[in-house]
């Protein structure tokens, strides 16, 4: 039976990249459906009524949302090129780090680049407090998942994808050579992978987009949540 796999995404969403990378690593053909988030399609809203976000994977007409949930589904549905560890303990550990990444690392890193003055100083301390765990996790390993790219590398793809762009826009280095030699090496190894490389959006396009996004947080006070 012919498979129909569609990915609702934007050209830049790091969460959507997780999904397309996973499909690409497994050699699963799919169709990209690009969304304009300022004017979401009725189809997207139909497929993801709860969060109304990208990415959404639609497999033979059945939708799934939330990138980490989608990655688990992709792993269970297409068993070639396993991306998750086989051992349950290692799987639990990978899931923990992925959650830590999304719940703590990402907001803290983003916070550095949208805040100003004293709040930025505090945000930097928080971000380093989180990033150091990533550096430690890479000890003795080429990738978070070991010798090859796996689930956790895809989950942390945003570090490779976004941080240097933010750094360039704001003229601020967060991931420096002194503190993060392993993380910087990982970023290079990750980006050098042919599949990752091919899907990488053009840097100047990323700079333009994020310049506008980061700019929208200034001159307001840092967002309260």
């Amino acid at each position: 039976m012919a498979e129909e796999v569609k990915v609702f995404r934007t050209w830049s969403s790091p969460f959507a990249f997780r999904v397309v990378w996973a499909l690409q690593f497994k050699g699963v053909p799919y169709e990209n459906i690009y969304e304009d988030l300022s004017e979401k399609s009725s189809l997207l809203l139909h497929y993801n009524p709860i969060h109304k976000k990208v990415p959404v994977l639609v497999h033979n007409g059945k939708p799934l949302a939330e990138s980490l949930v989608i990655l688990e589904y992709i792993e269970e549905t297409w068993k070639q090129t396993p991306l998750f560890p086989e051992d349950p303990y290692e799987r639990a550990t990978a899931r923990f780090w992925a959650r830590f990444g999304d719940d703590q690392v990402l907001p803290s890193v983003f916070g550095v680049f949208i805040k100003q003055g004293k709040e930025r100083e505090e945000a930097i301390v928080t971000a380093h407090g989180n990033l150091k765990y990533l550096e430690e996790e890479l000890r003795g390993k080429k990738f978070f998942s070991g010798e090859k790219i796996g689930f956790l590398d895809l989950a942390f793809g945003w570090v490779a994808n976004l941080v240097s762009v933010f750094e360039e826009i704001q003229g601020l280095t967060l991931i420096d050579h002194e503190k993060y030699p392993l993380l910087l090496a990982w970023i290079q190894n990750f980006m050098d992978d042919p599949i990752i490389k091919e899907s990488w959006p053009p840097r100047d396009k990323l700079i333009t987009k994020y310049q506008a996004l980061l700019g929208s947080f200034i001159p307001k006070e840092a967002a309260e949540k």
Partner: protein, 217 residues
């Protein structure tokens, strides 16, 4: 070789209760170690140096953290009985989605606002609280459990918050049964299970404790 299992937890934690229910469902023996979160033990700080939170399940010396991750781990290791997740990948993904949705909504924090704030803030919290449960109620539909015919992953994720319904209802004078009848019916159905009934504390006890915890009358 016998498995050695230790659970670091606090008796009132709704997250810890998920793990206890999961262990009970699988009939797994473990050692329970009550933690004092105002004076965290060396063991807790060592086993969860990242977040320093409970629950932590220690399996043959190796720690697993985050309640839903622990529940999945238990399901995968003791996969010969009482599965929590369905076997179909799409159904599994749906279960993971709904448990994640519920946690993303931070029901505990919303509930806290509901009972500790006043005026507009409280009204907003109440609205949010009920919206979350109404969404879950729609997802439940006519099924006996979120897992379908059988008690499963999403049921475990949600049921532990049932012990606080009495708190919200009494302090804020509304009825969950009136607002979300299917959820209440589902909760009572879950309470018929030994693993749930033995794990969830008495609602009136929770009420007393919450009054102390939040300094309420």
């Amino acid at each position: 070789m016998a498995d050695e299992l230790v659970l670091l937890d606090t008796c009132v934690s709704m997250f810890g209760m998920r793990v206890r229910i999961a262990l009970a469902e699988k009939g797994i023996k473990y050692e329970y170690k009550e933690q004092d979160l105002t004076n965290k033990s060396e063991l807790l700080l060592k086993m969860n140096s990242i977040n320093k939170k409970i629950p932590v399940l220690i399996h043959n010396g190796k720690p697993i953290c985050e309640s839903l991750i622990i529940v999945q781990y238990i399901d995968e290791v003791w996969n010969d009985r009482s599965p929590f997740l369905p076997s179909d990948p799409y159904q599994r993904a749906q279960a993971r989605f709904w448990a994640d949705f519920f946690d993303q909504k931070a029901v505990y924090a919303v509930g806290k606002k509901l009972v500790t704030t006043k005026g507009e803030e409280q009204e907003a919290a109440k609205k949010e609280f009920l919206e979350i449960y109404k969404t879950m109620e729609r997802e439940l539909g006519e099924k006996p459990y979120f897992g379908g015919e059988k008690f499963g992953y999403v049921d475990i994720a949600l049921i532990t918050f049932y012990s606080w319904f009495y708190v919200y209802e009494t302090l804020e004078k509304f009825s969950m049964e009136a607002e979300c009848p299917k959820i209440v019916a589902w909760a009572k159905r879950c309470m018929q299970k030994e693993s749930v009934a033995k794990t969830l504390p008495d609602q009136k006890k929770v009420y007393k404790r919450v009054l102390e915890l939040y300094g309420l009358k």
